[in-house]
Symmetry: C2
Subunit: 593 residues, 2 copies
């Protein structure tokens, strides 16, 4: 059976040593109640829950075929209901949510670590509270006080859950062409009519009510994405006293049969003049929904870390136990029929790639979490402005680069198992199937890359990335020259800076340029970010003699030697431009060959 | 539903224009009966069979859960039996096999193309005849005349099938530690006892008898891989008149539940003093089994091409049909609500990566097929020697590089579908699950890489690769200077040559070096090979004005600009050496973090 032990020591190292969380919290007015001891206690509790409650349910849910649909009713896999109740009772749903409505107000740099453990042990389970938390965030920031008071407390007790309803059969990335209609009623409510697809947790049996956040167009709305409004559309209407009223005219038409995350119900939702309530103002729905989308996008990155960590732990254990062949430098275990496959450089290469990915990714998630905490909790306007820009820049990296690297990593971990990695019982193949969606949903990774290169880079004339590189340079300059990653960090800064300038210039003369090189640029900025994380890790570890810390210096060197070379390929591809990408006619692609 | 149309025009181009098959066949005594018209007719027939008979069975077999096991009996998915009968009746099993025993004696450069179509449309189905063909090859080359006469004709009629039984629970890559025993009987037969796992087609209902080729150790055999013998162990013993006799004491204990290729029965096989017959001499079993293994390894590469081609065709069609967003250079389809996603550079980038992979891979498979044909059919001893060396060098590339690139490609094709790629009904997720095994079985891709860098390169002091590079240089020198790929080809030759010299030197002082950099070297030689293939494609296409040919010149340029840059990363990684890979102690990998 697959194993999992939360990497608590690494988590504390990242929080405490690398990002000096204690100091940050103490110096931030609204976080001064939190200290590392409390943070560690929270992480330890989540470590238990993830290992003892949901890990086993991950395999069983997949084996039994996942969520089941029968005439509009969705049944979640065995054990999910009890686990969800326990999760809700533990206060986990509202861990990072507004205390005024029953949340616990914990900072993001802590919640990303708690989330990682759930993503490691049961991604299908994680999706049920995840959408609720996201919907809560959107309501908290964009809805009326009455709406907040009605819905948020029920979210955080786990009595009700949330969804986001964006996609339609013909409309995914291009939300400007949605067809779902919202017709105003005399009482201020709207009648919502349309079909939404790929609705995570659209229907299930974990909660007594489900609150859908639905994008729709009012009758006179402007065309395109400027004419989209956001509505709260509850499964059961809510009476004035907060009790459940009549069933709304909406329901699940079917659930999807998917490659993975089978325990998560992915629903087709039909709205048939269902009663909905406007959130904020008409035609401003997309901005409100993007509050939720940006939260989910960071979460997808954490899904990647979680899967990659789980894959690593299982592969490292398998490689340690599996005896096969002998070391090239002489027999290592003469008492055994063969040496552990850890004697083979190729197995180590794979494991170190995954390990390096996990440690850099985790640091990066905490870093972005800290930036989000600054935007939310700081009173320093300039710090908030900078952090907002940083989050805008790095959200596509968190979503797309982390999940791209996570899939690479999980595939390498699976390969350590040889044929056994392909067999269901070892859990690795499920890990990959479950993980794959993270690159696709909440905006494909290609869409993230286009966001990074377009809205976040070219549009600001490179201001966001320039400020990020300045921070990295300043940090590197403060480092001990003896750390070899210092020079590598400064070199990457130089390369990505030059690349950015090249891109901005090319984009001016060729509108197709940015889209054609977007993914390579995303990976270049990802490599810059992970190098920066290893610089911070090395700086934090250098003075400590224990092997736990000194090994991090080796891993940082490994990263520079063996992972960072990907940058050379990315730079060459970007320099090769867009012409060859765009040159062939459309019918070339499907012509009979 | 997924689509597939065999790329017959491309196949003819590769055979006829690039590798001048007609000329080669006419000048090769034992192939002079074959011409392009016959070859095309064979490929057209297979195109029909793959599209009309087995394509639909691919999805249905997966949906119904694949092969079923019940008390030692394996039932193949619905329709497999009828399709297999049709396949056998068409003479397809023995297409490339010895005519003396009922085969059709067709050259490999043709059969690789027929095989590709089956791999495209139903990889689980393909595995049933595949193992038979491999077993037939091993018997044909290593067994006695009597054994050949007994088993081979039944293989090619499809009455009997074959397996290869190597792996045991504790013994995969390291066959030296197998435990299966072969005890000699007075009548010259042996009693075989042991458990073999991961036995493809070990038990099934398609044929009346199953002939297992089993590796086992005789009582006094030397330790390790020098003490392994090969045995024919039939499910039903064969009477002297060729009719079926008593049931042998062997059987399937269970079948594996796998990530993919669910229609293929992967069996645990228990041999309980089962009667077996020695093939060749005692202790020389591994060499005989490697006849089969090397055949299967090239086949795995073709599995990769097949999957990638299938993925491409479906993704290109989806991208053409899917309307989303508008072109950056202005609306392209004003009459539609949005443009086809082919207007976006990132979508084209993905499709062109896949297309470039398919065309280079296919050419490479035909190239290796031609080398195999020279070894088999040529009377020129020096040509045979060179071709043998070339096949030895390139078999790991065919197996591992082609399947690595195929998975990358299938993942990019899946991504073109957005969320729809994750849903079962589009077939893309099954394609990836089915394909993934190709990187793992028949020796993991890491093991292939170690074979390439060790036995095939360092051991020969670089002789094989030097001869290959000399051929490529000679070809490039003959090319028109106006073809930009000419310079790129010469440059890659130079880089891989220098890299090889560096590796041979480093390996002398560090026994761990080659294993640690093996996969990067495999990819470097793969990039060299694909560049060479595009050089040959470009040379063959250049003088022909039709867009079919001229577009190939664009694709070759695309390859150099956008795929070949990976070489820079591979070179840097190899130059970074093995030290950081090997430095950390074994317990680092599993220490609680």
């Amino acid at each position: 059976m697959p194993i999992y032990n939360a990497p608590l020591k690494d988590m504390e190292f990242i929080l405490n040593d690398v990002f000096k969380a204690d100091e940050f919290w103490q110096n931030t007015e609204n976080l001064a109640h939190l200290d590392m001891a409390t943070a560690n206690a929270i992480l330890e509790e989540m470590a238990k829950f993830s290992k003892n409650v949901i890990l086993d349910l991950n395999r069983s849910a997949d084996e039994e075929g996942g969520a089941q649909f029968n005439q509009g009713v969705v049944t979640t896999p065995k054990g999910f209901k009890e686990a969800f109740q326990q999760f809700a009772d533990g206060g986990w749903i509202g861990l990072g949510a507004n205390e005024a409505f029953g949340g616990q107000g914990m900072p993001k740099m802590l919640t990303v670590l708690a989330d990682e453990m759930i993503w490691s042990t049961n991604p299908s389970f994680m999706l049920y509270p995840l959408l609720t938390v996201g919907a809560g965030m959107a309501i908290d920031q964009a809805a009326s006080e009455e709406q907040k008071a009605t819905y948020l407390p029920k979210f955080y007790t786990g009595e009700w859950s949330g969804t986001m309803c964006l996609t339609e059969p013909h409309s995914g990335t291009d939300l400007g062409i949605i067809k779902t209609k919202a017709e105003p009623n005399a009482d201020g409510s709207y009648n919502i009519t349309g079909t939404k697809i790929f609705i995570t947790s659209g229907e299930h049996d974990l909660c007594e009510n489900i609150i859908h956040l639905v994008l729709a167009k009012t009758p006179d709305a402007p065309a395109g994405s400027r004419g989209i409004s956001l509505f709260i559309v509850p499964k059961f209407l809510v009476n004035e006293d907060g009790s459940l009223g009549e069933r709304n005219t909406l329901g699940a038409g079917s659930i999807e049969h998917k490659m993975g995350i089978k325990g998560s119900a992915t629903c087709v939702m039909n709205f048939d003049a269902a009663k909905g309530f406007l959130v904020g103002k008409e035609n401003q729905g997309l901005a409100a929904m993007f509050i939720m989308m940006n939260y989910e996008r960071l979460s997808m990155g954490i899904q990647g870390i979680g899967a990659s960590e789980y894959a690593y732990q299982n592969a490292a254990q398998y490689a340690t136990d599996r005896l096969q062949g002998r070391s090239a430098t002489g027999v290592k275990s003469p008492e055994k029929p063969a040496d552990s496959i850890l004697v083979h450089g190729d197995v180590r290469r794979m494991l170190l790639n995954v390990r390096a990915n996990n440690e850099a990714s985790r640091a990066f998630a905490v870093y972005v979490g800290q930036q989000l905490d600054i935007t939310k909790f700081s009173n320093d306007a300039e710090a908030v402005r900078k952090a907002n820009d940083r989050v805008a820049l790095l959200t596509p990296i968190a979503k797309a680069y982390l999940t791209d690297k996570a899939l690479d990593s999980a595939l390498e971990a699976q390969m350590c198992f040889g044929g056994h990695g392909y067999i269901r019982e070892w859990g690795m193949e499920q890990c990959i199937r479950d993980l794959r969606i993270s690159q696709i949903y909440e905006g494909t990774n290609g869409v993230q890359a286009i966001d990074l290169i377009g809205r976040k880079t070219i549009k600001s004339n490179g201001a966001f990335i320039a400020e990020y590189i300045a921070e990295i340079r300043e940090f590197a300059a403060s480092m001990n020259d003896a750390l070899s990653i210092k020079a590598a960090t400064l070199d990457v800064c130089h390369q990505v800076e030059a690349l950015t300038q090249f891109i901005i210039k090319q984009a001016k003369s060729n509108p197709d340029f940015s889209n054609a090189v977007a993914v390579d640029y995303l990976h270049a900025v990802g490599l810059l970010s992970f190098t920066y994380m290893f610089a911070r890790i090395a700086q934090a570890a250098q003075a400590k003699p224990e092997s736990f810390y000194q090994n991090k210096l080796v891993l940082a060197q490994y990263y520079v030697a063996k992972v960072l070379p990907d940058l050379a390929a990315r730079v060459q591809r970007i320099q090769a431009g867009a012409e060859l990408v765009m040159q062939l006619p459309e019918d070339y692609f499907t012509a009979q060959a």
